[in-house]
Structures are given as structure tokens and as C-alpha cells.
């Protein structure tokens, strides 16, 4: 088909006739089609045309060193399209940035595949997903750029992209990197505020941004966990150490450190308890002691023989619990005794040890009840100082009933 600028191109040399082997070719056979007289200057398959090259640049290249009058004639033939037109160029560029993005991404993937040795994947992407890149998308919607100025304005549009059209150029990068980043769950915020470092994928249940996913994929699952756990190790040790009043920044705990702190707390507690004139008994304590070992549970009431345990019965109904008051040190000593017995019995697990285990639980409940009685007495006599210390250093989770 005749092209627009056929007349501008020198005609191809006619094919020579009378070849050496002409007599071997059967005369009845259809002769070969003649070589096209000239290729269309606008044909992007021309070997001397750079893809994406503007018409104006092609004309300049075709007539370089040739007849300038012919060149001007060719430029004039382009008509008003050859005139510079900024706004359509920029708009085309901006739209092509959106439309050409999938193609650009695939090109990048293909390039990276080539770079990392996966040539088959790269070739496959090029063969089976030939999406247009930004330049090609611009050509699809607005044709080839008519001159270099239009090409330049399209580049400007591509560079600025859809930012001004959507929200603002400066926020575009941030928007893209944060796209899909979900809100962190409250537990993550608590852990973060405590000083722990968390793997991003576990922080939110609403998904995470492309950027975070990419970095985590590159990092590797197992190694990421190991890295974060090692990073959190000194933080965890320090938090635990601070809970027992060891100096801040303790990153390694020893048995001696812990036993020293325990001895210090025991001495403090003994001093506090000693300051009481006496531990006055109350009805709350008597009720709590009557209920140890779940003796007043629904099961115990419905099946009294099944639930009956003479050792627990002996503990719960001991006349010791009915005294009007106890010497403070004796009460504290009885708590320690009950806890020691409980920890020994609670270690008895398995067939044949159910009764010992149940007794251990009952002894623990009794120790808690007596501890609470001491705490109530402390509240009554020294409400401000002692309880703050006691709460701070021991595991009191509920306020003792006053």
C-alpha cells in the first residue's frame, strides 16, 4: 500500500533480469512479487526507524545531508499535527502512565528475571503478555508523537503522572507505599509501646502494604522470625528484670540476681507485717476457708461422698481458722508453710495422685485467703504505704475485700 511519503523516498533499483539460472525456473510458475518500491516512512517495522521516534525526527533522519527543500516539504505535509501542543501531550503522558503501568511492571519483572538467570520466564512474559509500556500506550490512544516537542510533553506527563490529577504529586509515593496497609491491632500497639519489635505481617489483620510484603518476601520467613526474636531478646529480659526491681538495662538474668531480690522482698514484707499489732480475723476469711477445695461447689453438694476428701476436710474445718486474731509473724509463717505444702502436693500428677493434687490446690486457696486477710488488716491500719509496696512487689491481682 502506498505510503504518505512514498514520493519523498528514492525509488528502489529495479530487479535485474536475465539471471544465471533463469532457464531452470519453469516458465509456467508465477514470478516472484517485485520488491516494494519503497517502505513507508511511518512504518514502525522499518529497520531504520527507532520505535517511538517522532515523525519529525524520522523526516530529519531521512533527509539528513539531503535536499532541505524536500525535507521542508515533508514537514509541511504533516500539517497542523506537527505543531507543538503542550496540554494534549501532557495529558496523554499522564494517562499513559496509568494505562502503561501493567506493561512497565511486566517489563521490570522480565528484566529482573533476565538479570537473575531466569531467561525462560523473561522470554515467556515477553511472548505471552505483550502489554504496552507507557510510550506504546500513549501511541495507542493518541498516535505517534508528531514531533519532538510532543514527545517531550508526553514524557513530562509520564513523569508527573496521575498525581496532580488524583491527589497531589508529593503524596503519590507515600500513597503507593502505604496502599493496603491495615490498622494495627491493639495488642500490637501494646507490644510496640513495651519496646518489642514485631514482624509486620502479624501487626494488622487488614493486610499490609505492597512494600512491606515485598521486603518480607525478600527477607524469608524463618530468618525473619529468628532475626526479630534475637532482636527482642534483650528487651524481654529487661522487661522481666524491671518487674522484680532489677536495674533497667539488665539483659541477662542469673539465679543469684533473682534469689537476692526474693530475699530483699521477703525482708520488706516481714517488716511490714511486723508493724501490725495483730492480724484480726474476719468473716470473709472464715467463709473463704470453709470453701477451700471446692467443698461448697454444686458437685460437692450433689455428690457429697464422691467429693469427700478427709485431708481437705481437715484443712477446711480446722479450729485454727476460728481464732479472733493471729500474731502477724505467725500468720505470715503459716502462709509460707501452706504454700510450701501446696507446691509439693501440686507436683503430684498422674494416676493415683489425684487426691494429693486436689489437696495441693486446697492448700493454695487457703494460703491465698490468709494472705488476703493480712492485706485487709494492712489496709485498715496503714492504708497508704504498705499496700502500695505489697501490691508493687507481689502478685496481687484483685483488691482484697475490705
Amino acid at each position: 500500500m502506498a505510503g504518505l511519503f512514498d514520493d519523498l523516498i528514492p525509488k528502489a533499483t529495479p530487479q535485474a533480469s536475465g539471471g544465471l539460472f533463469d532457464d531452470l525456473v519453469p516458465k509456467s510458475q508465477t514470478p516472484l512479487p517485485p520488491t516494494p518500491p519503497a517502505l513507508n516512512l511511518m512504518d514502525p517495522t522499518r529497520p531504520d526507524v527507532t520505535p517511538g521516534q517522532s515523525y519529525r525526527a524520522r523526516i530529519d533522519a531521512a533527509f539528513a545531508g539531503g535536499d532541505q527543500a524536500e525535507r521542508d516539504k515533508a514537514i509541511a505535509a504533516l500539517g497542523p499535527d506537527a505543531q507543538m501542543n503542550a496540554l494534549p501531550g501532557v495529558l496523554t503522558g499522564a494517562v499513559s502512565r496509568i494505562g502503561g503501568l501493567p506493561g512497565e511492571i511486566l517489563n521490570t519483572v522480565s528484566g529482573l528475571s533476565d538479570l537473575t538467570g531466569f531467561h525462560g520466564l523473561a522470554q515467556g512474559i515477553r511472548d505471552y503478555l505483550p502489554l504496552p509500556n507507557m510510550d506504546q500506550f500513549g501511541n495507542l490512544i493518541a498516535g505517534q508523537p508528531e514531533n519532538d516537542e510532543v514527545t517531550a510533553f508526553r514524557k513530562v506527563g509520564q513523569l508527573v503522572g496521575p498525581g496532580p490529577l488524583l491527589r497531589g504529586g508529593a503524596s503519590t509515593v507515600g500513597t503507593l507505599t502505604k496502599l493496603g496497609q491495615g490498622k494495627p491491632i491493639q495488642e500490637a500497639i501494646n507490644a510496640h509501646n513495651a519496646g518489642l519489635t514485631l514482624i509486620p505481617r502479624s501487626v494488622s489483620k487488614d493486610g499490609q502494604s505492597i512494600e512491606q510484603q515485598a521486603f518480607q518476601a525478600a527477607s524469608g520467613n524463618v530468618k525473619t522470625r529468628q532475626y526479630f526474636s534475637l532482636k527482642n531478646r534483650p528487651v524481654i529480659n529487661d522487661l522481666a528484670a524491671q518487674d522484680i526491681e532489677l536495674p533497667k538495662g539488665t539483659t541477662r538474668l542469673t539465679e543469684k540476681m533473682i534469689t537476692d531480690q526474693r530475699a530483699k522482698f521477703a525482708a520488706d514484707k516481714a517488716a511490714i507485717v511486723d508493724s501490725l499489732p495483730a492480724v484480726e480475723n474476719d468473716q470473709t476469711f472464715k467463709d473463704a476457708m470453709a470453701a477451700v477445695g471446692n467443698r461448697q461447689s454444686d458437685v460437692a453438694k450433689a455428690f457429697p461422698h464422691l467429693a469427700h476428701d478427709p485431708e481437705i476436710e481437715k484443712l477446711a474445718t480446722s479450729p485454727d481458722w476460728q481464732a479472733d486474731s493471729y500474731p502477724p509473724r505467725a500468720a505470715a509463717g503459716r502462709v509460707s508453710m501452706l504454700r510450701d505444702q501446696a507446691s509439693g502436693n501440686l507436683k503430684a500428677i498422674g494416676p493415683g495422685n489425684q487426691e494429693r493434687h486436689a489437696l495441693g490446690l486446697a492448700e493454695k486457696q487457703a494460703a491465698d485467703a490468709l494472705d488476703d486477710l493480712i492485706a485487709r488488716n494492712l489496709i485498715k491500719t496503714r492504708p497508704r504505704t504498705t499496700l502500695i509496696m505489697a501490691r508493687h512487689r507481689s502478685r496481687i491481682t484483685k483488691k482484697p475485700a475490705s
Binding site: G168, L198, S219, F228, N232, D243
Partner: protein, 164 residues
């Protein structure tokens, strides 16, 4: 004093490390916990991957055998950029765990608490501080999430804040 027993129970005295998963186990078994131990139990229960017992990890190689294979293969074929790309994998972990990135995923601002009236303080943020709002949450600069900004960026911030 009870806490000393709890911590002794969950500490590996060989390495001197506290096992956060064991604290979580104590909590699951009904042990009443408070303070930092309660925080650690909650964190270990929700984020086991970030609080693994370190004795099991026993040190860590930053590159795996696959990394070494890929790097060696790339270098043997003269593909230096590919080798560099594999080597850069190790840089992803420090980035993910950096204070900058952690603050970003927690959607919290970076940097120290600014003083009211600081010239570089982001203006809406400063207003919230003066209003007595919880300053360390919810408000941060749209640019980079930084609290302290030079005046030029602050002007951009004000513009972007107006757009939101």
C-alpha cells in the same frame, strides 16, 4: 515476691534469657500475672514469631545455603548484579525491624515528643498537644511521618493536611 518465682520458672539460667512463650504458658495455666510479665504473656501469645525462645535459635546465619548457592552461581556466570541482589536480602531484615519502619506500620509518629511552640513542630499536631489530646497517637505529618520538619516541608504538610 511471687514474681521472682514466676521469673525463675521461665528463665533459662544457662543463657540468662527469659522465655516469653513460657510466661504465656503460665498465663494460660491460670497464673495471675501483672505488670511487664502480663505484657510479655500477651505479646508472646499474639506474636509467637517475634518472641521465639532464643536457645532454639542458637545464633543465626544471615544468609542461607541457598543464598550462597545463588551468589556463587551468579558470580561464576559473571552476573555481578544478581549476586549483589541476593546479598542485599540480608538488608531487608534490619529495614523491617528499624524504628522507622516499626513506627510506620504502627501508624505512629517518629521522633521525640516536641515541645509546644517548637518552630518545627507540625502545626495541627501542636494544636492537639495544646488541646491536651493524646499527642503520641493519631496525628503525624503526612510527609515521612516525622514530627520535626523544616519550615518548607511544614508548609507542604499544612497543605496536605488540608487536603485530607
Amino acid at each position: 515476691m511471687a514474681k521472682t518465682y514466676d521469673i525463675a520458672d521461665v528463665t533459662d539460667f544457662t543463657t540468662g534469657d527469659v522465655n516469653a512463650h513460657a510466661i504465656h504458658k503460665l498465663s494460660e495455666n491460670g497464673r495471675p500475672l501483672s505488670g511487664n510479665l502480663a505484657k510479655l504473656a500477651e505479646a508472646a501469645g499474639n506474636f509467637p514469631g517475634s518472641t521465639q525462645p532464643t536457645r532454639l535459635i542458637n545464633g543465626m546465619e544471615h544468609s542461607s545455603v541457598v543464598d550462597y548457592y545463588l551468589m556463587t552461581n551468579a558470580i561464576a556466570h559473571g552476573n555481578v548484579p544478581s549476586a549483589v541482589a541476593v546479598a542485599l536480602r540480608t538488608a531487608a531484615r534490619p529495614y523491617l525491624s528499624s524504628k522507622f519502619n516499626q513506627a510506620r506500620i504502627m501508624q505512629q509518629p517518629l521522633g521525640p515528643e516536641p515541645l509546644p511552640g517548637h518552630p518545627y513542630t507540625f502545626a495541627p499536631y501542636q494544636a492537639q498537644v495544646q488541646a491536651g489530646a493524646n499527642a503520641s497517637r493519631n496525628v503525624r505529618s503526612p510527609v515521612l511521618g516525622l514530627r520535626h520538619l523544616p519550615p518548607t516541608l511544614n508548609a507542604l504538610n499544612l497543605y496536605l493536611a488540608g487536603q485530607q
